[in-house]
């Protein structure tokens, strides 16, 4: 990660703007990773093309939105055959289902952590998913810095819920999503 030390923003300690602030992602400083377990060991995979849109209402968090689109053809699985398996029909079936999408439906917060409930679509199957998000400002930035932030989004999905059921003996059901995105005010 390019920015190792960042400062967590307390979601309620903010008095900057009233309307939701829209952000776009700076792909140079963003990692969209996921962890899966292959033969009992954790492997980190990634998506190399994606779209992340975040709107944060610092006054009324429930008005915030998050949407994520991941291009499955750019998924990697940590090693050559992991990547091939990940994109194959047995897992993401990238040719037939070029995108994974997530759209938030509600955002709630407590302390410095937001809970995002939404719908995720994988292989054309849509299910509810809860993600957890935190916002950070770059170390050294002003306390009121809101133009350039980092958002960390984590969550876990069970691949079997979406028919991504290949290699059931070798690969565990859980895919743990871990996004650390640099976002810029639009």
């Amino acid at each position: 990660m390019r920015i190792l030390f960042t400062l967590l923003i307390c979601l309620f300690a903010s008095n900057v703007t009233a309307a939701p602030v829209k952000y776009t992602v700076d792909t140079q400083n963003t990692d969209v990773n996921f962890t899966y377990t292959f033969g009992g060991k954790d492997i980190i995979g990634a998506f190399n093309d994606y779209d992340i849109n975040v709107a944060v209402d610092f006054q009324a968090l429930q008005n915030s939105t998050v949407s994520v689109t991941l291009k499955t053809k750019t998924a990697t699985g940590g090693f050559v055959f992991g990547t091939q398996a990940m994109r194959s029909k047995k897992i993401l079936s990238a040719k037939a289902f070029p995108e994974i999408t997530f759209q938030s439906k509600s955002v709630t917060g407590a302390g410095d952590t937001a809970t995002i409930n939404g719908d995720i679509t994988v292989r054309g199957i849509t299910k509810p998913l809860t993600l957890t998000a935190q916002l950070f400002r770059p170390r050294g930035s002003d306390v009121n810095e809101r133009d350039n932030l980092f958002i960390k989004i984590i969550g876990t999905l069970d691949r079997f819920d979406f028919g991504a059921d290949g290699y059931p003996k070798e690969v565990a059901p859980d895919l743990r999503i871990n996004i650390l995105a640099a976002i810029q005010k639009q």
């Binding site: 292959f38 033969g39 055959f81 091939q84 194959s88 003996k169 070798e170």
Partner: protein, 178 residues
């Protein structure tokens, strides 16, 4: 020693191909059994592409061997009962067929999994079938059966050679070695 076969002797090319492929196929049989029973993980998955690469190397050698055999007939068989000649011919023919079919089925089945087939990190061997789970399962099953049938026939072939060497005491085995 001559490179080519003569009417009474095998040349060194035939002998080398025979023994290299014989050892290779036995090794590949046990290697295949071993990998198909593995619990795969990050530390051992590379054995599968290794199996494929050695198998493709053997397929190339087997193809050369068959071409060599067609253009370069073996020495005449040593005297035996007509039934024994017939059986030997049958076993040899089926062995050639299975020697080709076993790796070839592996190649089709492996291609249909969609995984690339790297040749010892040098280049990727072309895939000859599109990604299709059913085809992959079918051909990898046939691959296993062909390998087993080949191993069973190879065992008969060895027993026949030992029979001629130890009981009939003729030159059959010796002329493939010397």
């Amino acid at each position: 020693m001559s490179a080519r076969n003569t009417p009474t002797q095998y040349g060194w090319i035939t002998k080398s191909l025979h023994w290299i492929i014989a050892i290779g196929l036995w090794a590949m049989f046990f290697f295949g059994k071993y990998i198909s029973n593995l619990e795969l993980g990050p530390d051992n998955y590379h054995l599968i592409p290794r199996h494929k690469a050695f198998g493709m190397l053997l397929l190339a050698l087997i193809t050369i061997r068959i071409l060599w055999r067609v253009t370069n007939p073996p020495p005449a068989a040593l005297p035996a009962k007509p039934m024994e000649h017939l059986l030997a011919k049958l076993v040899h023919t089926v062995l050639y067929v299975l020697m080709l079919a076993t790796p070839f089925f592996g190649w089709i089945g492996s291609s249909a999994t969609g995984f690339s087939i790297p040749f010892f990190g040098l280049f990727d061997i072309p895939l000859i079938w599109g990604e299709d789970e059913k085809v992959a399962d079918l051909f990898l099953m046939l691959h296993g059966y062909a390998a087993m049938a080949m191993t069973a026939l190879a065992t008969m072939h060895i027993l026949a050679a030992l029979y001629r060497h130890l009981i009939i005491r003729d030159e059959t085995l010796r002329r493939m070695v010397r």
